[in-house]
Amino acid sequence: MTTTPAVDPLDVARIRKDFPILDRQVHGRRLVYLDSANTSQKPRSVIEAVQTYYERSNANVHRGTYLIAEEATAALEGARAKVARFIGARSEREVVFTKNATEALNLVAKAWGRAHLRPGDPVVLTELEHHANIVPWHQLVEEIGIELRWIPVGADGRLDLTDLDRLLDGARVVSFAAMSNVLGTLTPVERLVAAAHDAGAIAVVDASQYVPHVATDVGAWGADFVAFTGHKMCGPTGIGVLWGTEAILDATPPFLTGGEMILNVTKEGFTPNELPWKFEAGTPPIAEAVGLGAAVDYLEGLGMEAVRAHEVSLTAYALRTLTERFGDDLVIHGPSEPSERGGVLSFAYRDVHPHDLTQVFDQHGVCVRAGHHCAKPLMRELGVAATARASLYVYNDESDVDALSDAIAAAAEFFST
C-alpha cells in the first residue's frame, strides 16, 4: 500500500470550465460524464490546437521547403518531443505515432513478433487484457504456432503471481496492461518487466489506461515496448503511441509501409528510414499529433501527481458512499484499496442487466458504459457477461459520484416492480 505524496488538490470547478462538452444538457439534465476509460473528453486548448493547425499551418510534413510545411513539420515533431518528455523517453526516436493503441500493439505482435517468434514460443499475457493485447497474439498462434499462457486474475481483481516463474519459463514475450480497463487494477509493472527479462523475454506494457492517469516513466519501468492511445488522455481520436527502446525498434522490421517510412525505393526493393519514421507509413496523423501535444501540455499543467491524488481520493469516496448506500445489492469488482487501483468502477446491481442499468442512467444524464469492455476473457473469469463501468477523470468530482448513486437508486426502483 503506497501513500500518495501531498500535492495541491485539483480545482475541479475550474477544470470543468475547460471542457466545453460539460456544459451540455442531455434529457434536460447536466451531462455527468463517467466513461473516461472508454474515451476522455477534450479541453478547449486541445480542440483549439487542432483548429488553429488547420487554419494556420496545415501542410504535409517532412516534405515541403515552404514556410507552412516547415511549421507543420515542427508542430508534428514538437508534439513528439512533448510526448517523449511526458513519458520519460530518452529521445524522440523512441516515440512512434500510430493511429491508436491497437495499431501499436499490432505492430509489436506482428512486426517484432513475426521476425522473432518461432513455433512453440511462449507468449505470456494476463487474464485482464484488453482485446487489443489478445487478438493480435491469437493471430500469431494461427500463423506461427506460438503458445499463449495466461497470468490469472485472483481474488480482488489482482494478478495472481503465485505461478509466475513456471508461467514465464522459456517465455519470449510478456505483454500486459499496466492498469485494467475493467477493474482498475494497477499491475506490478516493474516486477513483471524484471521477471520477463530474467526469463529472457521482452516486456510489453499496454499503458492505455495508465498514461492518462498516473505519472509515467518508461525508463524506470525498463520495458521494451509501451503502447498507449491519445483519445483517453484528453487528446484527439486517430492517434496512438508506441514507445520502444532504440535497440528493440532497430530490431523490429517495418510494419505498415509506403511513403515517409523509406530512405529509398526502387523497382527491386526498398531501404527503410531512420527511427521513428521507419514505422510511420503514409501521411501521419498531423493535426492529431498537434492535439496530443496540447493534451500533454494540459495534463502537465494540472500535474500528474495531482491527477493521481484526485482520482485516488474520488475513487475512495465512490467506493465508500456507494457501499454505504447499496450494501450487498451492489457488487463492485476489483481491488478494494483505492491506492491499488485507478478510478475505474465495474459493478453489478442485483440481477439488473448492465445495459438496462445504464439505459436508466442515461435518462439522468449519467454516461456509464455497459458491456464486456473489450475484455471478454476477463468477463468469463469474473463469471459475468457484462458489467456497468463508471470511470473517473480530472473533470469529475463528488457531485458526479452522487449523481451516479442517485441514478443507481432510480434504476433499482424502475426494475424492482
Binding site: H27, G28, H353, P354, H355, D356, Q359, V360, Q363, A370, G371, H372, K376, M379, A385, A386, F414, F415
Partner: protein, 163 residues
C-alpha cells in the same frame, strides 16, 4: 425525447422476468446455433427442432439484457409451430419494424449494419412483437432486439446449407 416507458413496455419486462421456452434440446437432432452481440457481450443459444419445414420446437439459452432476452422469448413463442416460410416472413416484418429508426446526428439515416431489409410483407401480423417497436428510438438497443432473430435465421440457413 423518448422516455424509458417507450422502451420497457410491461409485456417486455414480463417476458424478461418469465422467459418462455427457456432451456435446451438434445442436439442433434436439434440444430444448435449461437449468436453474439459484439458490442455488449450478449450471447444467445438457440435449439431448433425442425421437421417437415416447420419449427416443431425451440429453446432459448444464453444471457443478456431485458431487450435481448425478452425479444428472444417473444420470438420463440411467435415462431413455434410455424413453417419456415412463415418464420422468414415474420422475421422480415420484424426487421422492417426495427429498421425504421431515428434520423442520425447529421440528418442522414443511420444504418445499423444489418443486411438490407426488404419491405415488410404486408399481411404478416407481429402481435406481441409490436411491443418492441419503441426500441427503434434507442438505436444502440436495436441490435439487442434483433440478436435472436439473426441467430434464428443463421440456424435456418445452416440447416438448409445456405449459410
Amino acid at each position: 425525447m423518448p422516455g424509458l416507458e417507450d422502451l420497457y413496455r410491461e409485456i417486455i419486462l414480463d417476458h424478461y422476468r418469465n422467459p418462455r421456452n427457456r432451456g435446451e434440446l438434445p442436439s442433434p437432432p436439434a440444430v444448435r446455433v449461437e449468436g453474439f452481440n459484439p458490442l455488449c457481450g450478449d450471447e444467445i443459444v438457440l435449439y431448433l427442432d425442425i421437421e417437415d419445414d416447420r419449427v416443431k420446437d425451440i429453446r432459448v439459452g444464453g444471457q443478456g439484457c431485458s431487450i435481448s432476452q425478452s425479444s428472444a422469448s417473444m420470438m420463440s413463442t411467435a415462431v413455434k409451430g410455424r413453417t419456415i416460410d412463415e418464420v422468414r416472413a415474420l422475421s422480415r416484418a420484424f426487421k422492417a419494424m426495427m429498421s425504421i429508426h431515428e434520423q442520425s446526428l447529421d440528418g442522414g439515416e443511420e444504418g445499423d449494419g444489418e443486411e438490407a431489409v426488404e419491405g415488410p410483407p404486408p399481411d404478416v401480423k407481429l402481435g406481441d412483437l409490436e411491443a418492441l417497436r419503441g426500441v427503434v428510438k434507442f438505436p444502440v438497443r436495436i441490435k439487442c432486439a434483433t440478436l435472436s432473430w439473426n441467430t434464428l435465421l443463421q440456424g435456418l440457413d445452416e440447416r438448409t446449407g445456405e449459410g
